[in-house]
Symmetry: C2
Subunit: 245 residues, 2 copies
């Protein structure tokens, strides 16, 4: 097999994604079944109404995992950022659908081909297992958030999480961004989506934003953009230290 110019070589999530944790051979096989796709905001990526099963690695953008109930109740049960894996192998269709929270670039695999490769390549399976275990940890942390935290703590946690993950994605993109800076962050989620995520009403989310602004901990500039002015204070609130200010 001749070495051909590799489309993965220039991939921005190359050294953080699933494919970075497998052998060169597995990466190569993975490359052969991979194709880049662009998905517009709002489209269902997989599960539910999506045609056929697919798996993806997020290259840029954010995917929300939504648990839908017949009666219209929605709960966002997870967010996947750049380099994260999306999909449910060996799947009896779970009730969770993956939807594009923002415009996406995905590295996508057909369900059949990927599951076949999974059978053939134990190292790929191991890498996936590790990722899934991390997702499980994250999901359990989120359980704590939903169950035990107040509205203020929830919103603070959410903002800190978004800030960290978006900054992270940006750092992976073009590292050199001075850490400790206060970059303007574009939230991948609308107020109502944040509410779905935190099990709050959008009005409550809005009020908590107002409170954080009043305290000078964040600033909002435009509908979906914000700046964290005082990260330490955010962390405090998030942990429930909540001084009676």
């Amino acid at each position: 097999m001749r070495h051909v110019p590799n489309k993965c070589d220039s991939c921005v999530v190359r050294n953080r994604s699933l494919c970075s944790s497998v052998s060169a051979e597995s990466a190569c096989e993975l490359q052969r079944i991979a194709h880049r796709v662009r998905v517009p905001e709002g489209r269902v990526v997989t599960g539910g109404a999506a045609l056929g099963k697919t798996f993806s690695i997020v290259v840029s953008g954010v995917v929300k995992l939504v648990s839908n109930r017949p009666d219209g109740q929605r709960q966002i049960v997870g967010l996947q950022f750049a380099s994260d894996f999306v999909g449910r192998p060996f799947g009896e269709a779970s009730s969770v659908t993956a939807e594009a929270a923002t415009d996406l670039e995905l590295c996508s695999f057909s369900g059949h081909a990927f599951e076949e490769l999974l059978q053939k390549r134990p190292d790929l399976e191991r890498a996936l297992l590790r990722r899934i275990l991390n997702d499980l940890d994250a999901s359990r942390d989120w359980l704590f958030l939903l169950g035990r935290k107040s509205a203020g703590e929830k919103v603070a946690t959410f903002l800190a999480m978004i800030a960290a993950r978006i900054a992270d994605a940006a750092a992976g993109d073009r590292s050199g961004l001075k850490s400790g800076a206060m970059p303007v962050i574009r939230s991948p989620l609308s107020r109502s989506e944040i509410a779905d995520c935190l099990s709050l009403r959008l009005e409550t989310v809005s009020r908590q934003f107002a409170l954080l602004k009043a305290r000078g901990i964040i600033e909002t500039t435009g509908r979906r953009t914000f700046v964290v002015k005082d990260y330490a204070a955010l962390k405090q609130i998030m942990e429930g230290v909540e001084a009676a200010a």
Copy 2:
């Protein structure tokens, strides 16, 4: 290798646990590093204060996975029943500890030996991946429960889940139990543990029990035992159909 009388042959979870989904060779290797242990109620099985990492398959009893916070808040993030797997491979210590909710029988593996075997045996790793994916699904369902359901729905869901899983464990034990019966079920969790599980206060749990009793849907006989008289009604409430009775 001679065939010796196999301690696993008589195992009650033999045909439902992890070891049932692997090759004969892997099962054999697994058997070699397995040992039965009994754990009294309340003991930490793994994580946190437990000495050294171990993995286990639950033979009988119930394990609760608890997320502890410095400030004493507790959230039960999962329950593992007979045949379920307990442990976090490749683990940076997660904040979750596994504790015996009842007296337990475990089939236990030392962390080192098990992880080594995991490296050597892709089929074992695959079987584990499937289990973990199921845990992840369960965890995400639970997110919906905590986020979106009312106290009444939560308690109904909990009771239905316990009834199903305990009946299931019993069926695996000595099948032939007439289904459709209304067996007396011993809850593995106290009121306060149920509260930790559902993100409620124990008073609220107690009130919901009282309500279900008043409606004739359940009966309680003793502190931790109950009978489901009307499973259909329980399902209704659980889904939020909630007729204004």
